[in-house]
Protein backbone atom coordinates (compact mmCIF):
# COMPACT_ATOMS: atom_id res chain seq x y z
CA UNK A 1 0.00 0.00 0.00
CA UNK A 2 1.46 3.38 -0.99
CA UNK A 3 1.57 6.33 1.39
CA UNK A 4 -1.09 8.00 -0.77
CA UNK A 5 -3.35 4.99 -0.42
CA UNK A 6 -2.81 4.98 3.33
CA UNK A 7 -3.81 8.64 3.48
CA UNK A 8 -6.88 7.91 1.37
CA UNK A 9 -8.02 5.27 3.86
CA UNK A 10 -7.07 7.48 6.82
CA UNK A 11 -9.25 10.25 5.41
CA UNK A 12 -12.17 7.83 5.26
CA UNK A 13 -11.60 6.92 8.92
CA UNK A 14 -11.36 10.59 9.95
CA UNK A 15 -14.56 11.43 8.06
CA UNK A 16 -16.36 8.51 9.63
CA UNK A 17 -15.18 9.13 13.21
CA UNK A 18 -15.78 12.88 13.14
CA UNK A 19 -18.89 12.57 10.93
CA UNK A 20 -17.61 15.27 8.61
CA UNK A 21 -17.21 14.49 4.90
CA UNK A 22 -15.21 17.68 4.35
CA UNK A 23 -12.21 16.57 6.39
CA UNK A 24 -8.99 16.05 4.45
CA UNK A 25 -5.92 15.41 6.55
CA UNK A 26 -2.32 16.09 5.61
CA UNK A 27 1.06 15.25 7.16
CA UNK A 28 0.85 18.38 9.29
CA UNK A 29 -2.73 17.95 10.57
CA UNK A 30 -2.99 17.85 14.39
CA UNK A 31 -5.82 17.73 16.93
CA UNK A 32 -5.82 21.55 16.92
CA UNK A 33 -7.07 21.50 13.31
CA UNK A 34 -10.21 19.43 13.93
CA UNK A 35 -12.80 20.89 16.28
CA UNK A 36 -14.14 17.70 17.84
CA UNK A 37 -10.78 15.97 18.29
CA UNK A 38 -10.90 15.51 22.05
CA UNK A 39 -9.68 12.68 24.24
CA UNK A 40 -12.71 10.44 23.63
CA UNK A 41 -12.62 10.96 19.87
CA UNK A 42 -8.90 10.24 19.98
CA UNK A 43 -9.69 6.82 21.47
CA UNK A 44 -12.32 6.26 18.77
CA UNK A 45 -9.89 7.38 16.07
CA UNK A 46 -7.05 5.10 17.20
CA UNK A 47 -9.41 2.13 17.59
CA UNK A 48 -10.90 2.77 14.14
CA UNK A 49 -7.43 3.00 12.55
CA UNK A 50 -6.53 -0.36 14.11
CA UNK A 51 -9.68 -1.91 12.71
CA UNK A 52 -9.39 -0.29 9.26
CA UNK A 53 -5.76 -1.25 8.70
CA UNK A 54 -5.78 -4.50 10.69
CA UNK A 55 -2.88 -3.36 12.89
CA UNK A 56 -2.33 -2.98 16.64
CA UNK A 57 -0.67 -0.02 18.35
CA UNK A 58 0.91 0.16 21.79
CA UNK A 59 0.19 3.01 24.16
CA UNK A 60 3.82 4.14 23.88
CA UNK A 61 3.52 4.42 20.12
CA UNK A 62 0.44 6.61 20.11
CA UNK A 63 1.40 9.03 22.88
CA UNK A 64 4.49 10.11 20.96
CA UNK A 65 2.65 10.91 17.72
CA UNK A 66 2.94 14.60 16.84
CA UNK A 67 0.76 14.78 13.75
CA UNK A 68 -1.16 12.74 11.20
CA UNK A 69 1.97 12.24 9.11
CA UNK A 70 3.60 10.37 11.99
CA UNK A 71 0.43 8.34 12.43
CA UNK A 72 0.62 7.37 8.75
CA UNK A 73 4.29 6.38 9.12
CA UNK A 74 3.44 4.24 12.15
CA UNK A 75 0.66 2.49 10.23
CA UNK A 76 2.91 1.91 7.20
CA UNK A 77 5.59 0.41 9.47
CA UNK A 78 3.07 -2.22 10.60
CA UNK A 79 1.57 -3.16 7.22
Amino acid sequence: MTREEVFEKMNEVFRDVFEDDDITVTDETTADDIDDWDSLEHINLINAMETEFGVKFSMGEIVSLKNVGEMADLIISKL
Binding site: L40, H42, I43, N44, I46, N47, E50, T51, K56, F57, S58, M59, E61, I62
Partner: protein
Protein backbone atom coordinates in the same frame (compact mmCIF):
# COMPACT_ATOMS: atom_id res chain seq x y z
CA UNK B 1 -20.19 -7.30 40.83
CA UNK B 2 -17.34 -8.36 38.58
CA UNK B 3 -14.01 -6.61 38.94
CA UNK B 4 -12.25 -7.23 35.66
CA UNK B 5 -9.14 -5.15 35.02
CA UNK B 6 -8.01 -4.51 31.45
CA UNK B 7 -5.29 -7.15 31.82
CA UNK B 8 -7.84 -9.82 32.80
CA UNK B 9 -9.85 -9.45 29.61
CA UNK B 10 -9.54 -11.88 26.71
CA UNK B 11 -11.13 -10.85 23.43
CA UNK B 12 -12.76 -13.20 20.94
CA UNK B 13 -10.16 -11.95 18.49
CA UNK B 14 -7.47 -13.41 20.79
CA UNK B 15 -9.20 -16.66 21.72
CA UNK B 16 -12.22 -18.05 19.96
CA UNK B 17 -12.91 -20.52 22.79
CA UNK B 18 -11.98 -18.72 25.98
CA UNK B 19 -12.99 -15.08 25.59
CA UNK B 20 -14.50 -12.89 28.33
CA UNK B 21 -18.28 -12.75 28.37
CA UNK B 22 -21.17 -12.07 30.74
CA UNK B 23 -24.91 -12.50 30.97
CA UNK B 24 -27.80 -11.59 33.27
CA UNK B 25 -31.57 -11.46 33.05
CA UNK B 26 -34.22 -8.99 34.11
CA UNK B 27 -37.99 -8.77 33.86
CA UNK B 28 -39.63 -5.55 32.70
CA UNK B 29 -42.47 -4.47 35.00
CA UNK B 30 -45.13 -1.75 34.86
CA UNK B 31 -43.33 -0.14 37.80
CA UNK B 32 -40.11 0.12 35.78
CA UNK B 33 -42.09 1.75 32.94
CA UNK B 34 -43.56 4.28 35.36
CA UNK B 35 -40.15 5.08 36.83
CA UNK B 36 -38.65 5.52 33.39
CA UNK B 37 -41.45 7.93 32.51
CA UNK B 38 -40.73 9.87 35.72
CA UNK B 39 -37.09 10.17 34.73
CA UNK B 40 -37.40 11.28 31.12
CA UNK B 41 -41.01 12.44 30.66
CA UNK B 42 -41.59 10.53 27.42
CA UNK B 43 -45.38 10.24 27.37
CA UNK B 44 -45.72 9.01 23.80
CA UNK B 45 -48.97 6.96 23.71
CA UNK B 46 -47.19 3.94 22.28
CA UNK B 47 -45.66 3.56 25.75
CA UNK B 48 -48.56 4.89 27.85
CA UNK B 49 -51.79 3.81 26.16
CA UNK B 50 -52.54 0.14 25.60
CA UNK B 51 -55.49 0.72 23.26
CA UNK B 52 -53.47 3.14 21.13
CA UNK B 53 -50.63 0.63 20.84
CA UNK B 54 -53.03 -2.19 19.94
CA UNK B 55 -54.71 -0.03 17.29
CA UNK B 56 -51.24 0.47 15.79
CA UNK B 57 -50.73 -3.27 15.52
CA UNK B 58 -48.75 -4.03 18.68
CA UNK B 59 -49.72 -6.64 21.29
CA UNK B 60 -49.84 -4.04 24.03
CA UNK B 61 -48.10 -0.82 25.02
CA UNK B 62 -44.46 -1.00 24.06
CA UNK B 63 -41.61 -0.78 26.54
CA UNK B 64 -39.34 2.22 25.96
CA UNK B 65 -36.43 1.22 23.76
CA UNK B 66 -34.17 3.29 25.96
CA UNK B 67 -35.39 1.43 29.04
CA UNK B 68 -34.35 -1.81 27.37
CA UNK B 69 -31.07 -0.20 26.34
CA UNK B 70 -30.47 0.90 29.93
CA UNK B 71 -29.56 -2.72 30.66
CA UNK B 72 -26.38 -2.14 28.67
CA UNK B 73 -25.36 0.19 31.48
CA UNK B 74 -25.77 -2.71 33.91
CA UNK B 75 -23.98 -5.10 31.58
CA UNK B 76 -20.93 -2.85 31.43
CA UNK B 77 -21.01 -1.33 34.90
CA UNK B 78 -21.77 -4.47 36.89
CA UNK B 79 -20.70 -7.44 34.77
CA UNK B 80 -18.36 -6.63 31.90
CA UNK B 81 -15.96 -5.25 32.98
CA UNK B 82 -17.85 -4.28 36.17
CA UNK B 83 -16.46 -2.19 39.01
CA UNK B 84 -13.66 -0.44 37.08
CA UNK B 85 -15.74 0.35 33.97
CA UNK B 86 -15.85 3.75 32.38
CA UNK B 87 -18.48 3.73 29.67
CA UNK B 88 -17.38 5.55 26.52
CA UNK B 89 -20.18 4.87 24.08
CA UNK B 90 -23.16 2.65 23.30
CA UNK B 91 -24.45 2.21 19.76
CA UNK B 92 -27.80 0.56 20.21
CA UNK B 93 -30.47 -0.67 17.82
CA UNK B 94 -33.94 -2.03 18.49
CA UNK B 95 -35.07 -5.09 16.58
CA UNK B 96 -38.42 -6.13 18.05
CA UNK B 97 -40.90 -4.68 20.53
CA UNK B 98 -40.54 -5.46 24.23
CA UNK B 99 -43.68 -5.72 26.39
CA UNK B 100 -44.33 -5.43 30.11
CA UNK B 101 -43.74 -8.84 31.69
CA UNK B 102 -41.03 -9.84 29.23
CA UNK B 103 -37.95 -11.42 30.76
CA UNK B 104 -34.87 -10.26 28.94
CA UNK B 105 -31.50 -11.97 28.81
CA UNK B 106 -28.77 -9.40 28.37
CA UNK B 107 -25.43 -10.74 27.22
CA UNK B 108 -22.16 -9.50 25.84
CA UNK B 109 -18.70 -10.61 24.94
CA UNK B 110 -15.43 -8.79 24.31
CA UNK B 111 -14.98 -8.66 20.58
CA UNK B 112 -11.85 -6.51 20.43
CA UNK B 113 -9.33 -5.38 23.03
CA UNK B 114 -7.47 -2.18 22.16
CA UNK B 115 -4.16 -2.14 24.05
CA UNK B 116 -3.18 1.35 22.91
CA UNK B 117 -6.30 3.03 24.26
CA UNK B 118 -7.02 0.52 27.06
CA UNK B 119 -10.56 0.10 25.80
CA UNK B 120 -12.68 -2.91 24.95
CA UNK B 121 -15.38 -3.29 22.36
CA UNK B 122 -18.26 -5.34 23.69
CA UNK B 123 -20.73 -6.93 21.34
CA UNK B 124 -24.02 -7.10 23.24
CA UNK B 125 -27.50 -8.37 22.62
CA UNK B 126 -30.82 -8.67 24.39
CA UNK B 127 -33.07 -11.68 23.85
CA UNK B 128 -36.59 -12.15 25.20
CA UNK B 129 -38.10 -15.26 26.86
CA UNK B 130 -39.07 -16.63 23.43
CA UNK B 131 -35.50 -16.46 22.19
CA UNK B 132 -36.18 -13.48 19.95
CA UNK B 133 -33.43 -10.89 19.68
CA UNK B 134 -35.01 -7.57 20.64
CA UNK B 135 -31.89 -5.42 20.49
CA UNK B 136 -28.19 -5.34 19.96
CA UNK B 137 -25.40 -2.91 20.73
CA UNK B 138 -21.77 -2.11 20.29
CA UNK B 139 -20.34 -0.87 23.57
CA UNK B 140 -16.98 0.82 24.05
CA UNK B 141 -15.67 0.73 27.60
CA UNK B 142 -12.50 1.93 29.24
CA UNK B 143 -11.09 1.19 32.67
CA UNK B 144 -10.55 3.20 35.83
CA UNK B 145 -7.08 2.89 37.34
Amino acid sequence: MNEYRFEDIVSKEESKDNYTKAEFSSTVTADKMEKFYEICGDNNPLHMDSSFAKAEGFNDRVVYGMLTASFYSTLAGVYLPGKYCILNSVESSFRSPVYIGDTLVVSGFVKVKHEATKTIEISAQIVNQDGKKVGKAKILAGFLE
